[in-house]
């Protein structure tokens, strides 16, 4: 079974460079359980709430990822600059984005641990862009990613972009998470 959707589509949410994990989910919220339903939904509410106001939803800023009284975001795809997810190792970061409804991030580059957490936990698909998209995509644009072809279409502007291939991690993403991957490889018992 393939856990990765062939097409991921939705509205874009654009942020800048070096958006660290404290901006993705501020440390004060890390006290909530990731399993208890009444608690885990707070991660959706506070996802990307640590981004300073002028960087929230480029180019204009001032557009929160999740509305103050909501638990889910209207945006499905986060578009970012370099070193997305730098800082702490908290898996709460990709978890929070996923809890808000985000299915993919398209960044110019990632910090290693965030990238790994996104893949191993199967929270979202971290694509690497081949060029800087932060100035070419606007928050609210309608995007579609073909995960097999590795292409990103901006349906609002009609532009298409090539993404880097997922490489080694595609197998883990297709399996769903690192446990399923390890089971399929006969590495841990089922």
């Amino acid at each position: 079974m393939d856990s990765m959707k062939p097409i991921i589509q939705g509205l874009a949410y654009v942020v800048g460079d070096a958006v660290d994990t404290d901006q993705i989910i501020p440390a004060e919220h890390l006290v909530y359980s990731l399993t208890v339903p009444e608690e885990r939904r707070w991660y959706g509410r506070y996802a990307l709430s640590g981004v300073p106001a002028d960087g929230q939803g480029l180019p204009s800023g001032g557009r929160p990822f999740t509305e103050p009284d909501a638990y889910e975001s209207r945006y499905r795809i986060v578009v970012a600059g370099t070193n997305f997810g730098c800082g702490s190792s908290r898996e709460h970061a990709p978890f929070a984005l996923a809890e808000a409804g985000c299915e993919a991030v398209v960044a110019e580059s990632y910090a290693r641990i965030f990238y790994r957490n996104a893949v191993d936990g199967g929270f979202l698909v971290p694509f690497e862009a081949r060029e800087r998209l932060v100035e070419r995509i606007r928050t609210g644009d309608a995007l579609a990613i073909d995960t097999a072809l590795g292409t990103l279409s901006n349906r609002t502007t009609g532009e298409d972009f090539l993404l880097h291939p997922l490489g080694d991690v595609a197998e883990i993403l297709r399996a769903g998470n690192v446990f399923e991957y390890a089971r399929r490889a006969g590495f841990i018992g089922s």
């Binding site: 070096a18 660290d20 404290d22 901006q23 501020p26 440390a27 004060e28 890390l30 006290v31 909530y32 359980s33 990731l34 399993t35 608690e39 640590g50 981004v51 300073p52 370099t82 070193n83 730098c86 800082g87 702490s88 190792s89 908290r90 898996e91 709460h92 990709p94 580059s109 990632y110 910090a111 290693r112 641990i113 790994r116 957490n117 191993d120 936990g121 080694d168 998470n177 690192v178 446990f179 390890a182 590495f187 841990i188």
Partner: protein, 430 residues
């Protein structure tokens, strides 16, 4: 092969590995804390069963340290969950809050308790787990999912990193500390300058450093995106480790013919005190270039700058003076907190020096290094301008998104605390 490649090869049961290969390796120590421990335990139970046993109780270390002295009931609940798991699994290495065993900041505690053993693989659910590499071992931070897989199997997959080598020559002037060296490196290569790579520190100036100071170097490898930081073990390392554990270990060195991604040389005699300006650890400036910047508070603490020598350095400057801005002193561990009462500078204990100078004395934990619940000691709540010995200054890191944080050495922070503006320690060191 480099140290990092050799350790990974041995733990993969292989003769050799090359950068870029993915291999499964055996883990010698898994560390987790109160923030990432409970979700790791949840995933472990989901994947391996409610009654599953951890792969090796002797290799699991639980160090609650992040949100300890708070009334937040979720935070307190998380410490309770660790306690229940430790009890159910019979884990011997649990350093519970409110008991004499309580330690404080995990990365410093791992060293003090003898878990940092040369040649080993140490994985932690915390990005600054790279700190342990100061002992000539491979250590890196992972998320809850990878940690849960280790709890069940003792294994993790790693991509073998290329190694960047940083060689520090010469002898360190008294106004510089390891913090200045690592901030200079991060300023040079940027917050993503070592992404996916190992950072190996070498050179006589590194081996002249104490173990605590070496830990400051490896601690901040993650601030350049590094997978791990590493310093080959020497006689000092072996002495430190043998004083704290009887466990066997094997010292590993890089081969003469090891291949590096790059090599950078620094002459420490020509370097100067630096800060990282808001809001990035790579936003480096010479202290002399930002001297006079007005400050609201100073903070000495964390796994980076809350070790005994950090307080000794700060005390040398603060002694006989009064701080003119709110100054927070947070010893990383209870061992260090106790040592503040027994270690003296100029005949006075460090504790007395700070207290007389008007500093606010905190209890051992991560405290305001990462903001935390609103009642956290030293946390920012407004647009404070802070100078801190911690490791990160991204927006909101110490609590408030509006605050501005300068990262600096304990010497620079102490000098600035006494004047209320950023101050070059050379101006006050006698």
């Amino acid at each position: 092969m480099t140290i990092t490649e050799k350790i990974i090869a041995r733990h993969a049961g292989r003769e050799r590995v090359a950068p870029g290969e993915n291999v499964w390796i055996d883990v010698d120590v898994l560390m987790t804390h109160d923030v990432c421990g409970p979700p790791t335990i949840d995933i472990f139970k989901r994947e391996f069963g409610e009654d599953a046993r951890v792969w090796d109780p002797d290799k699991v270390v639980l160090l609650p340290d992040h949100y300890i002295f708070t009334k937040n009931h979720h935070a307190n609940r998380n410490v309770r969950l660790l306690r229940e798991f430790a009890e159910a699994q019979g884990l011997p290495h649990f350093y519970d809050v409110g008991t004499p065993r309580y330690k404080g900041v995990c990365h410093v505690a791992l060293a003090e308790e003898g878990f940092n053993r040369p040649g080993s693989v140490l994985i932690g659910t915390d990005s600054h787990t790279c700190t342990s590499g100061a002992f000539g071992l491979f250590s890196t931070g992972v998320g809850n999912t990878d940690a849960a897989l280790i709890l069940g199997t003792g294994k993790i997959w790693v991509k073998v990193p290329e190694t960047m080598r940083f060689v520090f020559e010469g002898s360190l002037p008294p106004y510089l500390m390891a913090k200045d060296l690592i901030l200079a490196v991060i300023g040079d290569i940027g917050c993503d300058g070592a992404t996916y790579r190992a950072m190996e520190f070498d050179g006589e100036a590194v081996y002249d450093l104490s173990m605590e100071e070496r830990m400051t170097l490896t601690n901040m490898a993650i601030e350049a995106g590094g997978k791990n930081g590493v310093i080959a073990a020497d006689a000092k390392t072996v002495e430190y480790v043998q004083a704290r554990t009887d466990a066997p270990f094997e010292v590993v060195f890089s081969d003469e013919a090891a291949r590096y991604h790059s090599v950078r040389h620094y002459d420490v005699a020509t370097m100067e005190p630096v800060v990282a300006k808001p809001h990035r650890p790579d936003n480096r400036a010479a202290v002399s270039a930002v001297a006079g910047t007005r400050l609201d508070r100073a903070y000495v603490g964390s796994c980076t700058g809350g070790k005994l020598e950090d307080f000794e350095a700060a005390a040398r400057i603060v002694q006989g003076q009064e701080v003119v801005i709110d100054t927070f002193i947070v010893p990383a561990t209870t061992e260090i907190a106790a040592a503040l009462h027994t270690t003296t500078v100029g005949g006075e204990t460090l504790y007395d020096i700070f207290e007389r100078a008007g500093c606010k004395m905190g209890r051992s934990s991560c405290a305001a290094c990462l903001g935390g619940p609103p009642d956290t000691f030293g946390r920012t709540h407004g647009s404070e301008v802070v100078i801190s010995t911690t490791n990160r200054n991204f927006p909101g890191r110490m609590g408030s998104k509006q605050a501005s944080v300068y990262l600096a050495s304990p010497l620079t922070v102490a000098a600035s605390a006494c004047t209320g503006v950023i101050t070059d320690p050379r101006a006050v060191l006698v």
